[in-house]
Amino acid sequence: MNCREFRSFIDSFLSDELLVETNHELLDHLEDCRDCREQLAARRALRGRLRTAVRTSPAMGIDQSFAVGLRMKLRESALRPSFLGIFASYRLPLAAALAGLVVIAAVGYFFLDRRGSDEPVTARSGQVTQDSVVRSNNGEVVNAVRAAWTDLAELAVGDHENCAVKFNLAEPPISLSEAADKYGSYNRDLDRAVTSALEKRFPGSGPDKVEFLEAHFCLYKGRRFSHIVFRQKGELISVLVADTDLPFDTNALNEDVTVGPMHASGSRVGTHAVFVVSAMTDAENDVIATTIKPAIRQHIESAGA
C-alpha cells in the first residue's frame, strides 16, 4: 500500500469502519511510513478535540431546569391512566355498564387533574417553585419533584463511583478555577471552604482526621458537579455540588439516598444541591453534610452565585 492509497482510507480507518484485513494493510503501511503516522495522529487528535469542544461547550449544554421540568412532565404523562387503559382492564361480561362508569371516572379524573394543573409547572418554563409545590397540593407533582431529586442524588453517586473511585469519566475534569470562569464564580476556592470546615470539626490529631485528596469540576451523564474528594477512616468521600432549580429545602427533600453500597446525604443550599457520597453509614455522611453546609452556604453567598 502506498501513501496515496493510505490517505484514501484514513477517514474510514479513523471511524473504525474498515474490514479487519484492510486495517492490517493500513497498519503495515504505518509501520514504515512516518509521514502517514503523523498525519493519522494529527487527524485523530483533531477528532478528539472536536468531540471534547462540542460536548463541553456551555452553549451546547442542556439547561438543567428545562431538563428537570421535561422529565417531570413526561413522568406525569406516562403514569397517568388513559381512557383506553382503564377500559382494557375491565374486560368482563358487564363491560358495557363498567364502560359507562369508566367514562364518568375518566371525566372526573380529567376535571380534578385540570384543577391541580393551574400552577406553572411546565417543561417549557421549568419553574417548579416551592410555592407551586405547596399551593398546588398536587401529590403527583411533589412525588415527581422527589423523583427528580432522587435522580440527581443517583447521578451524584454515579459521579463518585466513576470519578473518585474508578477515574473512569468519559470527559476529563477541569480545575475549579477554570470552572469558576465558565460555570460559576462559586467554584473558586470552594475546596478551601469545605476543607477548612472539616479540619475544624475533625482536628488533625484525632482518629477521625479528614485528608483532602483532590478537587475538580467534572461531567457525569450530562450533569456537571463541583467535586471535592476526601478520605476519612480509610473511606473515600465525595462532596458534590450542582446547580439545581428543584424547590427549596423541605424535610421531604433532605432525604438520604442509597445506591448499592453507597450512601448520599443531600441538601439544598440556595440554587445548589450539595451531596456527601461515600460507603460510610448514613449517620457518618450526615455529620459531614451538617458540618460543611454552613460553610458552603457562606461561600456561595459571598461569591454572589
Binding site: A42, A45, L46, V54, A59, G61, F66, A78
Partner: protein, 182 residues
C-alpha cells in the same frame, strides 16, 4: 400509553433508564440543528413526547440514541417545512471539490471556541455528518438510516467535512504564523 398501572410503571422505568439519560445528547444535536436554545428545547420536548408515545415500537437494549435522533430529525424536518426551508438546493459537492486545492496541516494551538467556530463555518450538509460520527459516535450505517441517505454519501460527505474543517482551522493558524501548506 403503557396500559395497566403496573404496565405504566414498568414502561416508565424502562423509558427512564434508556431514553432520559440521553436528553443532553438529543438537546446538543437539536441545538446544532436549530442554532437557537429555545427552539432546541422545543424540538427536544417534541422528540421526547413522540418517543414516549411510540415507545412500544422501540426494542429495549438496542440503540436508543439512534432511535431518538431519528425522531429528532423528523421533528426538525417538519419544523423546516413549516418555515419553508425545505427546498432543492444546488449540489455544492462538485464546487467544493474544485476549491479545496491543498491539504492543510492541522494546527496545534487552537482553543475550543476556534474549533467550534470552524465546524460552524463548514456547510451544514458536511458538518452534520462530522457531528454525528465524530461527536455523537454513530456508525456510517446509523447515520445513513437517520438521514435517509446512502452509506456512500455519508462517507463522501464525512471525508469532505473533515477536510473543510482542517481548511477552516488552517485560517486561524496562519494568523498565528504557525501553519504552512503541505
Amino acid at each position: 400509553m403503557f396500559g395497566s398501572k403496573k404496565g405504566r410503571e414498568k414502561g416508565w422505568a424502562i423509558f427512564e433508564a434508556e431514553a432520559l439519560p440521553l436528553m443532553p445528547d438529543v438537546f446538543r444535536v437539536a441545538k446544532w440543528l436549530a442554532r437557537d436554545a429555545a427552539v432546541a428545547e422545543d424540538m427536544t420536548q417534541e422528540t421526547y413526547a413522540q418517543a414516549l408515545k411510540s415507545f412500544h415500537r422501540y426494542t429495549p437494549d438496542t440503540n436508543c440514541k439512534a432511535w431518538l435522533l431519528t425522531i429528532l430529525y423528523r421533528v426538525n424536518g417538519k419544523r423546516r417545512m413549516k418555515l419553508g426551508q425545505l427546498k432543492l438546493v444546488e449540489d455544492t459537492e462538485e464546487q467544493i471539490a474544485e476549491t479545496v486545492a491543498f491539504e492543510p496541516s492541522i494546527p496545534q494551538h487552537l482553543t475550543d471556541d476556534e474549533i467550534i467556530n470552524a465546524i460552524n463555518r463548514v456547510p451544514k450538509k458536511f458538518s452534520e455528518i462530522v457531528m454525528l460520527t465524530d461527536v455523537e459516535d454513530f456508525a456510517y450505517k446509523e447515520v445513513a438510516e437517520m438521514l435517509e441517505i446512502p452509506i456512500g454519501t455519508v462517507m463522501s460527505r464525512l471525508h469532505r467535512g473533515r477536510r473543510l474543517l482542517r481548511q477552516e482551522l488552517a485560517g486561524p493558524a496562519r494568523e498565528y504564523g504557525i501553519a504552512s501548506n503541505e
